[in-house]
Amino acid sequence: MLPSHHRNGVTSGYAVGCNNLWHWAGPVSPSTNVLHVDRNPYYGGAEAAFSLQEAEEWANRVNNETGDHPFEDASVRLGDGSPEVGTQLSASRAYTLSLSPQLIYARSQLLPTLVSSKVHRQLEFQAVGSWWIHRPGDSGDKRLYRVPGSREDIFADDMISVKSKRTLMRFIRHIGPSQLGADEAEGEGSSLQEDVGDASLTEYLTSKFKVPDELHAPLLSLCLSQVSPQQTSAQFAVTRIKRHLASLGVYGPGFGSLAVKWGGGSEISQVGCRALAVGGGVYVLNTGINSLDLPAEDTTNEDSRIQLLLSNDEVIKTKFVVGSNWDFPKAARLSCDCDRVARSISVVSSSLESLFPATAEGGPVPVGAVVAFPGASLGRADDSPPVYILVHSSETGESPTGQCVLYGSINMPGSDGQALINSAVQQLLESAGGPNAKVLWSLRYTQWGRGETRSAQPAISAERVIRLPPPSLDLAFDDALIDTVKDVWQAIMGDEATDHEFMTFEDREGAYEE
């Protein structure tokens, strides 16, 4: 039973939110009550993290409730069928497998937001160190090469010719802050647009800097672009490479991006829920919206609130409803303007130590690595999309010591994409896993969401039904999300909204003293 002011409508303002980004804006104001209902019995929605057993339950849920989740075709496999796999796998709860292992660039607006809302104190951040690229056909076993991710790396690299290094440095100098504006956030958009025009990354690198072909794929990997270099726009790529470079060293030497320990986005989502609760909001798991009735046309009526029937048979009246398409009852959903990608989560029996070298003296031990497999390196055409594998060491708390979790993704849904991810996982283990490395357990699924080109704007209707965009499919945290949340917050707060209050939560007196 919900608190009486939620049932009877005693107080003036209501907002019902169902999506995990929305709860951040939870403590909106004393005059607004926030009720957050979540159809799932677990926290985090599309960003949840699971034990092995929970992951299996999730896979069944996704397959049985087609259309109710931004996921489909989920399947769990236990190793390769060999008997020793069963004994190497630890207890279910020794794993925390994340649906949102995104890395967070040090320059992401998310970090200052987590700090201003003070929830960063409940999170633990770790470093994502090296980028690797798969190159087939080279002699010997070594098929993964470290992508030189900084100027120092380029100087030290012994694979790149002096001539190529010169072209690369010219490119990096060109896009550096002195050339294209000191701050990557604002201001230099027009000059970047003039500079790159509509060129693809390939055209831009070749025509303007004569960067040799073999360096295009490594540069693409630094953008985390999910299409081939030919299909990646130079504008997109330059913005992302700038972000990569500008993020280096911000929180310590030798790395520029972060992972959140214990399951990435799942943790952020949980501290968000907690912030909502601390701010006086109510969070209810295992409760969805069964039907939604808009108020009658007659606007003179005092009670112009939306009526919701919840799955626990309670009726709620609210001024605003906020949610992603999947949170609304079937009848109120819109057709999904979405992209689909294939993803997998694999637990492997190797610590893959060679992928986590110390990247700078005095820096933290990296816990994450990015491994890119260009389409061509997996035997596909040059314009085939790359496979990315985010590798998380056991230091992330996601797997027991001696094992790693591989998060695979490719912008190609279905069995074709899964086959390529699988091939990439095998190549990775052969290259870096040692003789006995194997996949102990894996989860494969298709994810629906927002690709690089789609709008992150929320749709706010006159009836005060606010639809959040589909979750981002980006492999790095997408800052557009913060603007989305802010738009929603402003829509609800109306005149009460002032910029400096957004996501700024005060401590209770004495709450955090030394």
Binding site: A94, L248, Y251, R274, Y283
Partner: protein
């Protein structure tokens, strides 16, 4: 968030994450308010406004800095998020001595802790609102028991002692949960056990002192645990030099030159 040595004393200092659990309105936040601010509010609203509070507890050989996580009411309509339990080294499971159903609920939370939390977690079962019973006055004369605590998390002896001292329900006071019933349960499950009054302050500091004493030194001193599930380490002092943690507060420390983007 953690420190290995405090500045003005030689005593080692360790942070301990403590979580609060229990039915709504049993006085979880009031107990913490009494412990942290030595304050009590008669008609306290349900908890909002603080993610966690901190308070130091000085022992003869070391200082324990409690980081006390309140449920913020999240226990009402959902199970608590996994992160709430993670790395918790201690838990206070509170019930109301005037409300039998709250002890049932407390048992549920103890089971949940045994399922979700680190195996070595120190759990204290606390019957609050002792001021509403006839034991309130007699209780004031009790001996302070915490000095007897060594590092045993199961504190059956002390609980039994208390049982013998205190009479059960009589004179029509508001007590509905006999001390014996709760202490027997606590002994069975290896929990510390106290009856308290957040209103008068009776036994409140004692609970926290007993918890501080019950936390094994090894779990405070040891370094990082071996991967997932071992918990207990990220909040403790004396972390090994090789660390993977990134401190967001250190932004700018190493950024005189922003990497290679010169």
């Amino acid at each position: 968030m953690s420190e290995s040595t405090s500045a003005n004393t030689a005593k080692p200092s360790s942070s301990v994450k403590l979580v609060l659990l229990g039915e709504a309105a049993v006085g979880k936040s009031s107990l913490v308010l009494r412990f942290v601010n030595n304050d009590f509010q008669e008609n306290k609203e349900p908890t909002i406004g603080a993610a966690f509070l901190t308070q130091k507890c000085s022992l003869p050989t070391r200082t324990i800095k409690f980081e006390i996580w309140d449920t913020a009411g999240q226990e009402r309509f959902a199970s608590l998020a996994p992160m709430y339990y993670r790395n918790a080294q201690a838990a206070l499971v509170v019930y109301d001595v005037t409300k039998p159903s709250s002890l049932t609920k407390a048992k549920h939370w103890v089971a949940e802790l045994q399922r979700q939390a680190s195996p070595g977690i120190v759990i204290a079962l606390v019957g609050n609102k002792l001021d509403l019973t006839n034991d309130a006055n007699e209780a004031a004369g009790e001996a302070q028991p915490e000095a007897e605590h060594e590092s045993s998390p199961a504190d059956g002896d002390e609980a039994t002692e208390e049982t013998q001292e205190e009479p059960d329900v009589s004179n029509g006071d508001a007590r509905k949960v006999p001390t014996r019933e709760a202490s027997a349960y606590a002994e069975e499950e290896g929990l510390l056990f106290f009856e308290t009054s957040a209103k008068t302050g009776h036994n409140v500091v004692d609970v926290f002192t007993a918890i501080a004493n019950a936390i094994p030194e090894s779990s405070l001193k040891s370094g990082r645990g071996a991967g997932a599930g071992t918990g207990q380490t990220s909040l403790s002092g004396g972390r090994p030099a090789e660390d993977s943690r990134v401190n967001l507060g250190e932004r700018g420390a190493a950024t005189a030159k922003e990497g290679c983007a010169c």
